[in-house]
Amino acid sequence: MKAAVIALPRSPARLWPYVGGAVGLVVLAAIPEFLGLYQTQLLTYGLIMAIAALGFNLLLGYTGLLSFGHSAYFGLGAYTVAFLLQWLGIHSMELYILLGLPVAAIVSALFGFICVRHTRIFFGILTLALSQVLYSLALKFFWVTGGTDGLRVPRPTLLLGIIDFAGSGGFPRFIRSYYYYVLGVFVLSAAIMWVIVHSPFGKALQAIRDNETRARFLGLRVRRFRWAAFLLSGTFTALAGILWVPLNGLTTPDVLYWPFSGEIVFMTLLGGFRNFFGPIVGGIVFTFLKTYAVASTEYWQLLLGTVLVVLILLLPTGVVGALSQLAKRLRTTREGAR
């Protein structure tokens, strides 16, 4: 797999994603030096949502299925961490990830099996309904889930317990270290997602997205591919939930409520869903946008909703899409001027 990632593509145009990615990585690695503690924390949340959006977009951008129930997997990841803490006394971040992902995979596989028998509107409604099942369970079984109060998750230990954050000065150390930890996980997951969407499997997904009939006439088992995409998508978003809860310190049913699924859709379309980097940009930008909206007005939903509508009207391909179209236009005018 190392060779797969290192192999350089043919034409110079194809190099852009790798160059851009490398530059972005350098920026992200260096930036905490220039940001205060609060901003670093915010950026950590942004990277976490970027992972969630990347996972979500495997289904939307690459497979053509719009899910309105991805809060289920995010919440599943978060609550699994809380349960691992409560029932098994686990504090290790690595164990949270190692044990949390299979749980999410199983539920995604189950939900996916139910949902991929349908397409378009019914697929979306069904994903929403299933996420509401989890939401109502989290509310109703309050003696297990803490109900609306939720469950607390204190700072975990990183790197197999080597690093812990007890004692004085623990909080700033945690914020800084956790940022790099999340950054590392983010880079790894982005790389994995990159390989997935550029693999033969990924090409098959896109073919199914573009033309289900023709895909079938190439002998592809359409439903199976969609189910596999669903499984991967849910697991990725669950990873985001797993990373989120130790930072937030608390998980509540809100994270399973369907408007949160809407936010995931929002941020993906904000960044641009026909593009690999769109969800990443969208996840980070949305996190900052929402935080500033909430901080600046009581009516942040009004603000966010208006921004969303205006954005869809003006930037149909999202931020990244608009930028790449701009780049294309600059390139062609330059070539025309020659």
């Binding site: 034409s11 073919a207 573009d210």
Partner: protein, 251 residues
């Protein structure tokens, strides 16, 4: 042994008898044209053979194996492929990826999730060869949705051809293109198909094209075969002429 044989194939759509006990045989290596007016049953016949539709009764034999109940995927594996009248491409993928995907599908490699598609040298080479044969290699990096209509038609055939079928069905490969382009497309298609030793059945309306390129012409009318033979014989057939041109047949 015929490459393909249908035995008393029937399909009705309500009152319309699209296939009325059709006994169709295709010999290996031929370039066969299936002609007839609209509604004669040509596309239905092809849909039945390629598993797009299920027959009401009758059997389909491919290399003497009964494939009547086989799924689309199984028939493709057996060696039957088709292109579409209304171009059916993966518009979001590049021209190259469209053909490459066909090859990946054929080779059973579409489950590969841990390697980059671009790194498969074999598939890469073969895809470039196919694109070159069809004359659209220059556009290989463009999204399929951005090609001109004639090129899209060629790509549609190329995608089916890349499955390396034994029997290839082409549904109106020259429809919707200018007459200048028609000859170009058919030249390419027929030369590629013949050099690849693929048996081809082409649904066509343009009789000039049909007479120029076919080894054998089969004419359908109201779900049944009306005429079957080499171009010269069909040209001389008066019943055919009357159906095609509308003059009353000599009773």
């Amino acid at each position: 042994m015929s490459l393909l044989r249908t035995v008393e194939l029937r399909k009705r759509f309500g009152a319309l008898n699209a296939c009325d006990g059709v006994n169709f045989a295709v010999e290996k290596g031929e370039f066969l044209s299936l002609v007839g007016s609209n509604g004669a049953g040509k596309t239905t016949l092809v849909n039945l053979i390629t598993a797009h539709l299920e027959p009401d009764s009758g059997r389909i034999l491919f290399e003497d194996r009964d494939i009547t109940s086989m799924t689309v995927a199984a028939r493709i594996k057996a060696g039957i492929a088709r292109s579409f009248q209304l171009v059916n491409l993966f518009d979001g993928l590049s021209v190259f990826d469209n053909v490459a995907l066909s090859i990946f599908a054929r080779e059973g490699k579409t489950a590969k999730i841990t390697t980059l598609a671009a790194n498969d040298g074999d598939v890469d080479r073969e895809a470039r060869d196919v694109l070159a044969e069809f004359g659209i290699a220059a556009k290989s990096e463009l999204p399929a949705g951005e090609l001109a209509q004639g090129e899209r038609k060629l790509l549609d055939v190329a995608v089916a051809y890349a499955l390396r079928p034994k029997l290839l069905f082409l549904d109106e490969p020259t429809s919707g293109v200018s007459s200048a382009e028609k000859a170009q497309i058919m030249d390419t298609v027929s030369s590629v198909v013949r050099s690849g030793a693929v048996t081809a059945v082409v649904i066509e309306h343009d009789m000039d094209v049909v007479f120029r390129y076919s080894d054998r012409i089969v004419m359908m009318h109201e779900g049944a075969f009306l005429a079957d033979g080499p171009p010269d014989a069909i040209r001389a057939n008066e019943t055919v002429a009357s159906i095609l041109l509308g003059t009353p047949s000599p009773a």
